[in-house]
Every structure is written in structure tokens, then in C-alpha cells.
Assembly symmetry: C2
Homo-oligomer: 335 residues x 2
């Protein structure tokens, strides 16, 4: 039976919401679920909240890597943390996939060094899925796993993202775009020009350069950029979406008149807010490593964790790591 | 008397809206205004729209640099365009400042090569002013004038931005922040680490690294980053703000029920939309060159042009280029 391990102590709402999400996923998908983390606390929280965890396995550890700890700490003083334990379980084939809402940087480092890269992959990419205003979504790669950027690495990101969007998000012939300051092929610096040429020669549906003003309208399925730019873009996207959501809510609470207006339009505005909710897709896979590892959003609640498990199941069923290796082998033929 | 020259053929709404804005500014500020561009067309459009341009000077040329032309073309086949003519007028002291809503890249190149850099300035920066959700704004530098990024250039951007925000936007002790993937001083690549150290040693109020999720909430007055990242950030910010504005409008048109709701809440929602209107500050100065050159937004209407002239007047009155040179001289003492 498929087994997914979940970090019970990752994210702002751990462990309660993680436990809830884990139980919900276990019941719904009929799979094995293992939680990593302090067994006493997990049992205590479950009992206090009347959650039946008799079908959930627990892999005990008392350590938790703090969200603001440096990424490399997972290989040192936190190599026995709930996150490290989960990564080791998938690395040792004791589980098929891992979900954590904890420290993103640590998960990328641990994913790379504990689960290890697929053959041929130079750098794994952190690949958040972001919503668009037309109710769709796109994958941004790299959202900040690597700060070194070379054309060959960016080309690989395009392939990694394309496979994921096709196999897990069921997007047909995903449109892969390069983040650039203009649409023409000569735009950008050397990094962009060389990446452009490489992506043209890759087994993906490369649609060329796309400016960042177009991505919120659904101009592409995979948006490729270096990790520094990607991280700045990701956090700005999330920040603006969140500020907007608060601002709209504030307006509707501002006066009696506005509260009355809210009664009429509330449903559609909430639907719109939900469209742009960056939590809705559950998070981001770390692509290019040997096993499915999924970063759930730091603010994950039970539903987010449930969604993350669902995506991880799709990820496992589609055998994404194998498809990636096959694509990279094809690439060797091209070069 | 102060004289400002305006490119009558820059932007989506040229020349009509530019002419209107120019006349409005001339009447309001009692300054001399010169329009560059095709005299016959300007006179014809003014006549057709009953606009009295008898107090406006015209510097005739038939050439216009297209908005999608490569930036360097302003030095070659378009060196007699309405934009090039305006730049030459300020370079030759025939005018005190220049406003154009045309090709941003060409304006940066022309500003650098025709108006020329201030002594000590390595790279001029394109510095758009962006709105925040709390009704304030911040300056982003560099929004894409340069793709090469070195710590010393980024440090200079911090100083350029700080002077502008203090002298023209009347922000006291502007908070200068470095765009980075985390707040700690060791975050980012070599570029960020070295720039961090330099900015600590600069005559600005350096508040350290700021993540991009914080900028829409007003976390800083000047946001420093390399031109590639800045351009991606700028266009994403504008794109999301614009999509949001359309989405909210669409919701209120969607059904009779929603239209009724709109009657109650319309005023506050429109106020909010206006808060996040990226056109409202008129555009972006090009900082680090010898004379005030101001890029008005491509979608500028008469009001945007009027606002851009107002900012250019403040720019001239505050003698920003001189203040920048003084700051750079101080810097020499520090190094």
C-alpha cells in the first residue's frame, strides 16, 4: 500500500492542523500515513481534540527545525528533526513520498542531500504553483532553491516543470516560458540569451520569453527563472495577493453601508479572493530529486495538508522522477 | 523662467492627451512648456479639440521612436526623434527638464548618452514609484536600465533613490532596503552580501534586507535591486495590480445583485483601486544623469502628464542632480 510521511511539526499551525489533515487524507485516500515528530505531543493534541489517530503511524523525534534556521542546519544539528526523519524515510524507501510545511530552505537542502538528485539533474528546483486571475495556475521554477544560475540549469528547470505540470497537474503540452525583460529572443543578459537557445532545443513546448506582467493572466504553465529572481517574484506575488485580500475584507467592514453592500456581493468577492489564494494548491514540489517531496505552505491548515497529500499521490502514481530521468536521457541525445 | 520640454509623441495616448496635459501644466504652474514632435499634427489635433496652444512652444520633428524599438536606436536611426530632440534640449541647457511617456529603454539610453551621467555615477537607474496598500509609495531602483549588477552600482542606486525620495517626494530620512531572499545580513549571493556591507557604510538610512512580500505594505521608501530582478518585479507588481482592478470591476458588473451591492460600496472600492493605481505617481525619474528626465507611464493621460511635470518641477527646484553629486563626494571621503 502506498505510504506517505508527513512532518507533524512543520508550519504555523502544527501539529493540530497537520494531524487533522493527515487523518482526513488517510480516511479519504485509504493509504498509509506516518507522522514524524514528538509522539507524546501528537497523542496529547489528538486526544484533546477528539481526533482518532489509531490508523496513523508515528515516527518519534523530539527535534524540530525552526522555520528561521539556516537551511544547512538540517544536515547538522537538526539531522534528527521531524523534517530530516521524513526525508530519511523516503530516501530509505520506507515511504513513497514526503510532505512538510516547515522551513523551505531546509527542505530543499535536505531533499538534495538526503533524498538525492536524479541522475543528470544539476540542481533541484523549488517549484511553487501560483494562481492566476483567470482561475488557472502556473508553476514557477526556481522559487529560491539555488542562487547560482547557469543556462544549463535553467533549461533543466524548464524540463522539470513541464513534466510536473503535465503528469501531476494534467496540463496538456505545458507552455514553458523564460522570465525576461522583453519578449524578443535577444532580450536580457547572457544568461537569458543562452537559456533561450537551449530551451528552443529541448523536449518542451517552449513559448519564448514572457514578461512578468503577463503571468497573473495565465500566459504560461511553467515560468523559468533563476532562484534569486524567482524568490523575489514569488514573495511579491504572495504579498500582493495577501494584502489585496485583507484590503477588500477591510473595505467591507468599514461602515454599515459597506456591510450592506457586502451582503449582495459577498459570495462573488469571496470566490475571487479564493481564486487568488496562494495556499489553495497546497504548495510546491521540489523537482529533480529521487522521490516525491512536497513543500506545503507555511500557513497550511488541514485542507492544505490534505491537498498536498493528494498532489503527492498523483506525483507518485505518475512516477514523475522516472519520467524526468527519461526526459533527461532524451536530452542527452539532442546535445 | 523655468522651461520644461515634453515629448508630444510618447505613450499610448499621444499626442492628444500629452497636449492637454502640457497646456494644463503651463496654465497651472506658469512655466514655459515646449512640445517636441510634428508641428502640423500637434496644431491639427489641438484645433480639432479646441485646445489653445498659443502659449506652447513647439520644436518640430517628424520622427518618433516606436515603443518596441531597441533602446540603442535613439542614438542611431532615431536620433532626430521627438524623444531625442527633448533630451538634446536639456543637454544643451535649452530646457530645465524633460518628460516623455515613450520607450523606457530608449529614454534610459538617451538620458545616459545624450544628457550624460553625473560625475562619479557608474550607472543611472530607472526609478519607478510604486503604490503600497497603505496609501503610501516606494521607489524601486533599478527598474531595468542596466542588466549588469555590481555591489558598487547597487550601493549608488541606494543613494540616488534616497536623495530623490527625500528631496522630491519629501520623505524624511528615507528607509533604504536591499531586495533579498531573507532578512539576515548573510542572505543572498555575493552581490547581495557585498552590497549589504557597502550600504551600511553609506550616507543613507539603510534598514537592511527586505523580502519582496513586505514592499506592498510600505516596508521601505527605496527598494534596491539589480535591473533584471527590478524589471521582473516592477512588471509583476503592475500586472497584478491591473488584473486585480479589472477583476473587481468585473465582479460588480456580473449580476443585478452585484450591481446593487456596488451602489453601497462603490466609493470605497474605487478609492482602493485608485490607491493601487500604478499610474498615479506619473512614472519614474532616471536618476544619476545631469538633468531631470522623467519617464511618464506609457498609458499616460493628461493628468499623468500634469503630475509628471509637477514632479519634474520639484526635481528641478530641489536641484537633485547637485545634491546627488554632493552625496557622491561625501562617499569618496568614506571609501
Amino acid at each position: 500500500m502506498m505510504k506517505i510521511v508527513i512532518d507533524a511539526f512543520g508550519g504555523d499551525n502544527a501539529p493540530l492542523e497537520i494531524i487533522k489533515g493527515a487523518v482526513k487524507a488517510q480516511e479519504h485516500f485509504k493509504i498509509e500515513i506516518c507522522l514524524t515528530g514528538n509522539e507524546n505531543i501528537i497523542k496529547k493534541v489528538a486526544k484533546e481534540n477528539n481526533i482518532d489517530i489509531s490508523n496513523i503511524e508515528i515516527n518519534h523525534t523530539e527535534d524540530v527545525i525552526p522555520v528561521d534556521e539556516t537551511p544547512n542546519a538540517i544536515m547538522k544539528e537538526y539531522n534528527n528533526s521531524s523534517m530530516a526523519l521524513g526525508l530519511k524515510m523516503v530516501a530509505n524507501n520506507e515511504a513513497d513520498g514526503f510532505v512538510s510545511a516547515g522551513n523551505s530552505g531546509a527542505l530543499c537542502v535536505g531533499g538534495t542531500l538526503i533524498v538525492k538528485r536524479l541522475k543528470g539533474v544539476k540542481r533541484p528546483g523549488f517549484a511553487p504553483i501560483l494562481p492566476t486571475f483567470n482561475g488557472s495556475s502556473f508553476l514557477l521554477i526556481d522559487g529560491g532553491a539555488n542562487l547560482d544560475a547557469r543556462p544549463e540549469i535553467l533549461r533543466q528547470f524548464g524540463i522539470l516543470g513541464s513534466v510536473y505540470m503535465e503528469k501531476v497537474m494534467h496540463r496538456e503540452s505545458p507552455r514553458v516560458a523564460l522570465a525576461n525583460v522583453g519578449t524578443e529572443s535577444h532580450k536580457g543578459g547572457d544568461l537569458q540569451k543562452e537559456t533561450y537557445a537551449l530551451l528552443q532545443d529541448s523536449p518542451v513546448n517552449f513559448v519564448g520569453n514572457v514578461e512578468s506582467r503577463e503571468i497573473s493572466n495565465g500566459a504560461c504553465d511553467v515560468y523559468v527563472c533563476d532562484g534569486f529572481t524567482g524568490n523575489i517574484l514569488l514573495k511579491n506575488y504572495e504579498g500582493v495577493a495577501k494584502s489585496l485580500s485583507h484590503a477588500v475584507t477591510d473595505i467591507f467592514k468599514k461602515s454599515v453601508k459597506n456591510k450592506i453592500g457586502a451582503l449582495f456581493v459577498y459570495g462573488d468577492l469571496m470566490k475571487f479572493k479564493e481564486t487568488m489564494n496562494t495556499d489553495v494548491y497546497g504548495g510546491a514540489p521540489i523537482l529533480g530529486i529521487k522521490k516525491p517531496v512536497f513543500k506545503a505552505h507555511g500557513s497550511s491548515n488541514a485542507t492544505t495538508i490534505f491537498n498536498a497529500v493528494r498532489l503527492t499521490i498523483d506525483y507518485i502514481n505518475a512516477n514523475v522522477p522516472q519520467v524526468i530521468e527519461d526526459s533527461f536521457n532524451k536530452l542527452k541525445g539532442i546535445k
